[in-house]
Amino acid sequence: MLRYLLRRLGLIILTVLAASLIIFAITQFLPGDVARLIVGQFATEQAVENVRVELGLDKPIHIQYLNWLGGFVTGDWGQSLTSRVPVRPLVFDRLWNSSWLAFLALLFYVPLGIFLGVLAALRRDKPSDSVITAFGMTFAGIPEFVTGLVLISVFAFGFKWLPANSSIAPGATFWEALPQLILPAITVSLVSLGYITRMTRASTVKVMDADYTRAAYLKGLPRYQVLLKHVLRNSLLPTVTVIFMGIGWLIGGLIVTEQVFGYPGLGRLIVGAVQKQDLPLIQASSMVVVTVFAISNLIADLLYVVLNPRIRLQ
């Protein structure tokens, strides 16, 4: 078990390193000269050169990479080129915001998706199953900017229950920000809900047909007991994995939703940074997203092992 854990950890580190190489390479190919960007169009060649030396841009490319990577690992993420503030607090601030949104979304769609999936499996091939499946598919198919805008027009402009703009103030607590989080969280949830529902339904149907489930029924166990003890324990395994693998996307991939609601998350930060060619910001925030992806995948793998005695006890 420990061996397995260490091996997975090693793989994760390799993954992040490989990603760092790619991120660094891509930022090298972005058009424009960083030093020129910093000092401005009308600065002298000498001034540009000075900045290049200062930033280490005159050194060979692999040294530049190692310097950058070393800086990232030790916490020196550099300065944003556009806003001239340290990158690290900026990225962490946004990461924090994104986590709130992700957390709330998970809170919405995971229990609901599992519930609907199990319900559909229990009512297999009956009307309620078809309805659940059809709705899941529909919402998964509608783009977030459509559901987002519909939700805004109904709940913000129509009923005026919730704010339309989700640009939460810096320093706001989770509870203060909650009203602004609800609509974007629902928007994100609707996309993932169908997916989780289908996953849960499929694996539950499979487990319901397994010999051991039949055996449990024929032992005369009450239905709820068969379901809780025998079915769900096995059928939720794949769902758990999928949930954790979705966290990376929730943290770094909500570009459209954040844009629609003006939510200050990590996704929007990256988009803004790319638009302004803010290289240190692009690099740092991309690395954070990659790391989150890697860690949530690791957790998904480990959970699968912990929940599955067949692997755990080998």
Partner: protein, 748 residues
């Protein structure tokens, strides 16, 4: 080690209970609603099982056995229902009961044991917790009380170390142990009715024997009514009092086991009994009687008698009206209108080929030679992080000549499949050589020339996965004809047609997809594909194990026939000793990657036997309830090929272990009569003497083994010779001239 159970334990109890029907099924019809319309899967079935009675329901797959049992206890899939009739459990009407009422009966008054124990135990829950559920749900016990009860039940089914077992998960227990767990679970509530649905089908033959012993013992002590579903007539003969033969959804014959097996009065029962290969006869002496044709689908039943299309004694009246079950003897009922004539028909001499004496007519030219083959797999051992080799095959040599069959037997996990995969090049051996007609073959199949590929072909166990589902039968057979057969393109269809004919399939099948064929037909296609390249050697890996008895018989006949006409050699691997006996000229017994006994087929089945062979033979349930045998049982399962026991590898399970020497030293090869060799510390004469009595019972009196057992004097010579050498290099199996065999092993 040998548990002997008197089959007639207190007959008075049986008589007194006879009136007390526990399960009564009357005129039951079961229908499945399908998109193609309703399927009447079970029709007009009646049966009753009394207290203390064990009722065996037999029939080919698709005959409706399981559907009947599930329907009777109201556990059908949602599209199935009992549309007619009555089912009562000790007077309680089951068909009228609500789902809730049924749930209270399941487990409490109706116990179930399922087919595949490794699938019927929840993989994510500790075994103990699953057992405790019975006590907690039905006996109102607390958690602690239920655990005590579970441990008691595990003890009762002879589970070694129950305290440890309850903490384990399904994947940590062997199939035999899991089946014990399920039997313990079912018996916790002491149910009136116990339904066992093919409880030993998924198990190895040695494990099956142990579980059947257990079932027999439990049935002797507990007065349950038992419904025992199986396709194996041998199993019924061992554990049941009454037998019902089901065919295409109807019971066609019923009666006391002893009567029905002695004098079956329905041609279908006769056919089933005739299809079972005997331990006493091989392909040269006897052709198995296969039942032609297939079970009709419930929506395409023939008018009149449903068995008429496959019946050898059919007359016009059979097709006129559906016959009823009628009383034909004490307790025996048959639905054949010609039941009076059945015994006479059954007595008709079976097609015996006249080969008097020359059962094995000498050896042809050498075809295949395998020299000291080893295959180690890298594996992570039980030790912390150390990797240890899994010695799947650890030094096996073999020879096969032209037109000859080498049978390889052993339990699952003994290395027999790995061995033939190495021979065919699907696995690369770790050491050793494979020679075809004297030429060394490349270890991997991808490096072998077309000519070598053409000469060695394979038939796999499961035709469902060995035939490409996307290609028609014609394409499947045509491909090797083109690729390996060097047949001009224009003649390929002609050749495919010949092959289809050779395996007795209609020409129209060339256009069909595998999914449109039955299991037996698919395996025929696989055989046709193997023969397409006109191979010199066909390797058969358990080719009949996944098929019904009657189909098995027809495939064994087919293989024998093709061998006669094409002169092909076989390496035939199976755990089924009777099938191996039927088809093989030589037999090699494999255990933990090594050979333990080799010799011409007849020699393998008479003393002296290697103790392992003896146990394998003793484990086979024989379809004759009259036969009482001394039982030799193996404990536990095959040890892991990572930690191979010291000395004789079999000593951990050997019922004839003689002492320390078995643990310390590798046993010598001892040569018996006529190329027969055994690797054991016990001298052959001693083995023979102790086994002769046991084997008298094994084959029954009617089919006594033709030749006499070898005289001790013969084996004595072999002892002296054989004992002088160790067996580090592994034994060799195959037809040698006597002199070579002697020098190969016995010489210095």
């Amino acid at each position: 080690m040998s548990t002997r159970i008197d089959p007639e334990i207190s007959p008075d109890a049986g008589l007194a209970a006879a009136d007390q029907a526990v399960l009564e099924i009357e005129d039951v019809d079961i229908v499945y609603r399908t998109s193609g319309g309703p399927l009447h899967t079970v029709r007009d079935v009646s049966l009753r099982i009394a207290r203390g009675e064990s009722y065996g329901l037999v029939g080919e797959s698709g005959s409706g056995k399981t559907t009947l049992a599930r329907g009777a206890v109201r556990f059908l899939p949602s599209n199935g229902s009992v549309t007619k009739g009555r089912v009562r459990l000790s007077g309680t009407d089951l068909l009228g009961a609500s789902q809730n009422e049924m749930r209270k009966l399941w487990g409490a008054r109706i116990g179930m044991v399922h087919q595949d124990p490794s699938a019927a135990v929840n993989p994510a829950m500790r075994v103990g917790n699953q057992l405790d559920e019975m006590g907690r749900t039905h006996l109102g016990m607390s958690k602690a009380q239920a655990r005590v009860k579970s441990l008691e039940m595990l003890n009762r089914v002879g589970m070694p170390d129950p305290e440890a077992v309850v903490e384990r998960y399904a994947h940590q227990l062997s199939g035999g142990m899991l089946q014990r767990v399920l039997i313990a679970s079912a018996l916790t509530t002491d149910p009136e009715l116990l339904i066992m649905d093919e409880p030993t089908t998924a198990l190895d033959v040695t494990t099956e024997a142990v579980i059947l012993d257990l079932v027999q013992e439990l049935l002797g002590s507990v007065r349950h009514a038992v419904l025992f579903i199986t396709h194996n007539l041998g199993v019924v003969a061992r554990v049941c009092d009454t037998v019902g033969v089901m065919y295409a959804g109807e019971v066609v014959e019923e009666g006391p086991v002893k009567t029905v097996f002695k004098q079956p009065l329905h041609p279908y029962t006769v056919g089933l009994l005739g299809a079972v290969p005997r331990l006493t006869a091989g392909k040269a002496d006897l052709e198995l009687v296969a039942i032609p044709g297939f079970i009709p689908r419930p929506d395409a039943l023939p008018p009149g008698c449903i068995f008429a299309p496959r019946c050898p004694m059919v007359i016009d009246e059979c097709r006129a009206a559906r016959p009823q079950l009628v009383d034909v003897g004490p307790g025996q009922r048959s639905s054949c209108i010609r039941w009076v004539d059945v015994p006479e028909e059954a007595e008709r001499p079976r097609p015996v080929r006249d080969t008097s004496g020359e059962s094995f007519s000498g050896y042809g030219r050498e075809l295949l030679e395998v020299r000291d083959l080893k295959k180690y797999f890298k594996g992570r051992g039980a030790g912390k992080g150390r990797s240890a080799a899994v010695k799947a095959v650890d030094g096996i040599s073999a020879r096969v000549t032209e037109g000859f069959t080498l049978g390889i037997v052993g339990e699952s996990g003994c290395g027999k499949t790995t061995f033939i995969r190495c021979v065919s090049g699907l696995e690369e051996p770790t050491a050793g050589e494979v020679l075809l007609q004297g030429n060394k073959l490349a270890p991997s199949v991808t490096d072998r020339p077309y000519d070598a590929l053409k000469k060695i072909q394979m038939v796999f166990q499961n035709p469902d996965v060995s035939l490409n589902p996307q290609r028609t039968v014609g394409d499947i057979i045509a491909r090797p004809v083109q690729q390996l057969g060097a047949v001009p393109k224009a003649e390929v269809p002609q050749r495919v047609a010949e092959l289809l004919q050779a395996v007795h399939l209609p020409q129209a099948y060339a256009a069909r997809l595998p999914q449109e064929l039955s299991g037996g037909e698919k395996q025929r296609v696989a055989i046709a594909r193997a023969f397409a390249a006109e191979p010199a050697l066909v390797i058969c890996d358990e080719p009949i194990s996944s098929l019904d008895v009657s189909v098995q018989a027809s495939l064994l006949n087919l293989l024998a026939e093709l061998q006669r006409s094409a002169g092909t050699s076989y390496v035939f691997v199976s755990h089924d000793l009777a099938a191996v006996r039927h088809i093989s000229d030589w037999i090699a017994v494999v255990y933990l990657g090594r050979l333990w006994e080799v010799g011409p087929t007849a020699r393998i089945f008479e003393p002296p036997l290697h103790p392992y062979t003896e146990a394998l033979l003793s484990a086979i349930p024989i379809a004759d309830p009259e036969i009482e045998r001394e039982r030799v049982r193996l404990t536990g399962s095959v040890p892991s090929a990572v930690n191979i026991p010291s000395g004789c590898r079999f000593h951990t399970r050997c019922p004839r272990k003689i002492g320390d020497i078995c643990e310390r030293e590798e046993p010598p090869w001892r040569d018996g009569k006529k190329d027969h060799s055994i690797c054991c510390h016990i001298p052959l004469a001693e083995l023979a003497a102790s086994q002769r009595h046991a084997l008298d019972g094994m084959y029954g009196s009617a089919d006594a083994v033709g030749s006499a057992a070898p005289a001790p004097a013969d084996t004595g010579v072999g002892d002296a010779e054989g004992s002088s050498t160790g067996s580090d290099t592994g034994a060799e199996v195959g037809p040698d001239t006597g002199a070579e065999a002697g020098s190969g092993r016995g010489g210095s």
